[in-house]
Symmetry: C2
Subunit: 148 residues, 2 copies
DNA sequence: TGTAGGACTTCAAGTAACTTTAGCTTCAAG
DNA sequence: CTTGAAGCTAAAGTTACTTGAAGTCCTACA
């Protein structure tokens, strides 16, 4: 049933890299792998499943410490939904905060670039004020002629 | 005209912290500050302006190295719009990529949490499958009763 | 069966961008 | 003049890996 995966194969299947897997082993996020005669690590389907879980959590933005808790939850049979849900909800809130920050940021940058494009197209505009604008709290127009 | 700011005051006005300012000095992002008799750093309005510029760039997601270029652009009188615009545009693209990733992530997390809320509300649900779901590539429903 | 070269091993250091700690000095207010 | 906040330096810690060096193993091909 078990497929005896090498670290490279496991990495590919789970969307990581061998160094990352070794790192996870070092910090105790995954258990120490069994070894072949030559010393190479060898893995089974359960490892693939657990590592996929970990990567998925990481992609969802859970910090390693929280992933550790989630892994514990998963392994320890004590499957109360509640703990996992609390973590997921907190993470969701973080993501939503980041999202609105990034949206504001996008608007600022887009305005900067668009104003630039509109005013400077076709010429370098040696008196561009884009840099001055960045000293303001919010980005404004750019590339108008400035007083000497 | 100059207001002789302490590092703490400068930090507050520019939205940083004293250690961060010292760090910027150490890596050469801001010039070495003048000192008072006792050895305390002292700053003027120009420093406040430059530091505000730097913080603004950082908030906009420019990595330190790019901020360095932008500061150079700003200080060196050679104000061609083009270089700054290239940096801004590249950064905008990065932000937009991050935005769409985060949006997908938000959807996944929201689904996880909402499904959980719908199925588990009022009770702990000892057979929650939220954790199992996280081993899948995309989050699905959670908290249904599972086979023993 | 020999061998080339790709994959694996360990350990250490590097990365970004700060933050924290320790131990000490200086400054400002009362 | 005292006391406590703020400043100083240097070094280590943080997060989550990535990269490098130097060497070993495994596999496929001739």
């Amino acid at each position: 049933m078990d497929h005896a995966l090498s670290i490279g194969t496991l990495a590919k299947r789970s969307g990581t890299t061998p160094p990352t897997i070794r790192y996870y082993e070092e910090i105790g996020l995954v258990r120490r792998a069994a070894r072949r005669d030559g010393g190479h690590r060898t893995y089974g389907d359960a490892d693939l499943k657990r590592l996929t879980f970990i990567r998925r959590c990481r992609e969802l933005g859970f910090p390693i410490d929280q992933v550790r808790s989630l892994v514990d939850l998963l392994e320890n049979g004590d499957r109360s939904c509640l703990d996992a849900r609390v973590l997921a909800r907190r993470n969701l809130e973080d993501v939503q905060t980041k999202l609105s920050e990034l949206k504001a940021l996008e608007a600022d940058l887009a305005k900067l670039v668009n104003d630039c494009d509109a005013a400077c197209v076709g010429g370098p505009g040696p008196d561009c004020v884009i840099l001055e604008d960045l000293t303001q709290t919010r980005a404004r127009s750019c590339c108008g002629p400035t007083a000497a």
